[in-house]
């Protein structure tokens, strides 16, 4: 199954705590998951101030500055992985360095029905 691991963190703390991961550690972990053959994609995101939200209603597009929802913790990055089951996905998630300062939501991917 495919699982999306969404990494959430208070952006003001992401890089500022003693246990905050440096980029090198994050890259090393992503490489390790990649080498295990379970990585489909993973990226870190720029801060939430750079977000723009798009909605289309009645054919009209509206753009708003900022994220979909104002929350205490923001989406900071993601891993899309292929895992045998939830346990394997959770194991990948617990190793993500940012889990030490934020939280990782693990969601199974729904296969669209053609």
């Amino acid at each position: 199954m495919k699982y999306l691991c969404l990494v959430y963190c208070d952006e003001t703390l992401l890089h500022g705590l003693p246990e905050s991961p440096a980029d090198a550690e994050c890259m090393a972990y992503a490489n390790a998951i990649h080498d295990s053959g379970r990585m489909l994609a993973a990226e870190a995101l720029k801060p939430v101030q750079t977000a723009t939200t798009v909605r289309v209603r009645g054919g009209q597009t509206s753009l708003t500055d900022g994220p979909f929802a104002e929350t205490k913790e923001q989406l900071a990055g993601f891993y899309l992985v292929e895992a045998r089951d939830l346990n394997e996905a959770l194991n990948i998630a617990r190793g993500i360095p940012a889990a030490r300062v934020g939280s990782v939501e693990v969601r199974p991917v729904r296969e669209l029905q053609p």
Binding site: R84, D85, L86, Q113
Partner: protein, 417 residues
Amino acid sequence: MPGSEAVRAAIDQVYRDESRRILATLIRLLGDFDLAEEALHEAFFTAVERWQRDGIPASPRAWLVSTGRFKAIDGLRRRARFERSPEALRQALERLEADDMNVEELEDDRLRLIFTCCHPALAADAQVPLTLREVCDLTTEEIGRAFLLAPATIAQRIVRAKAKIREAGIPYQVPARDELPERLDSVLRVIYLVFNEGYSASSGETVVRDELCAEAIRLGRLLRELLPDPEVLGLLALMLLQASRTRARNAGEGELVLLDAQDRSLWDQVLIAEGCALVQQALCTQRFGPYTLQAAIAAVHAEAATAQDTDWAQIVGLYEVLLRGWPSPVIELNHAAAVAQRDGPLAGLALIEGILQRGDLRDYQPAHCARAELCRQLGRQDQAREAYRTALGLTRQAPERRFIERRLQVLQAISRR
């Protein structure tokens, strides 16, 4: 050929003894809780007719598993023919038809079922009902009665949990060795919750409550048989030792009798002997945890012929080990109460006031009761009364309230003299 009465009796017996094991295996084979339950019922339904005609099979369990599996395959084939998106069904069928029944795995199936029902990814309030429903075969009505919740609420939690197992891909397996301690914690917690719901809460029907305790002990025994980890022994010992006092603890009309006032001749010596032996066994492994230590404390109480004979020094020592490894305010309170017994009320009171001043346990009724009792022993009647009143405001259970009210009346009588 056995008579129809004999066959029915045999089927009832097999259902009681084996239905959970058969269900556990069918869930593994079918990969779905609901499908497995349907298959289980169809298998038993078929048995009524076939065993009448062909006699009771040599291995009823194997017969029922294989019949349940065939029934499920039939059902899936029928559905695959009628439903629009048969891809998932086709895959399930292929897997099922290819899967030879692996006999060695059968014993592990019950353990798989327990670990899956107690998976930490499931909502905490769903783990207990799911375990009671699937592993213990309690009905949602029975679970609802025991937890004072509507059966519909229980059913809804179970349905949601099963949906999550299916949709999120929670595997049906015993965790790997490196995950075992963490996952086992979750299983032990569920079993102890079931026990405590039966043991401590004093509302609801006593019969249902005793059944919950018995069910938790049964689960503990099953787990020991399947996975004799030291903490599994420790939890079973703790439950047996607490259960040994059930008769002495209830003074009729739902009144609670505290440990030091209990008639110890009412303690169940058979349970005590088994509990103490398990504690020894767990302590010998040197890999024990908090359940074993709590059981060891219960064992020290169990070994004292009278409340005065209690080896408080040993109990204080055990609480200190517990506090070092698994600190919690409640354990700290129990430690303080033991210190009061060993070194006198003044020493215990200082510890309890320290905990309360920190802000921990300020809303915890037993902390105020303990403080009140020590104040009373020290002749500080006003403080004792004040603490009992605080406790009274925090309690929601009738027997506890009556207990505190009686204490307050005694204090009033003293101050009037």
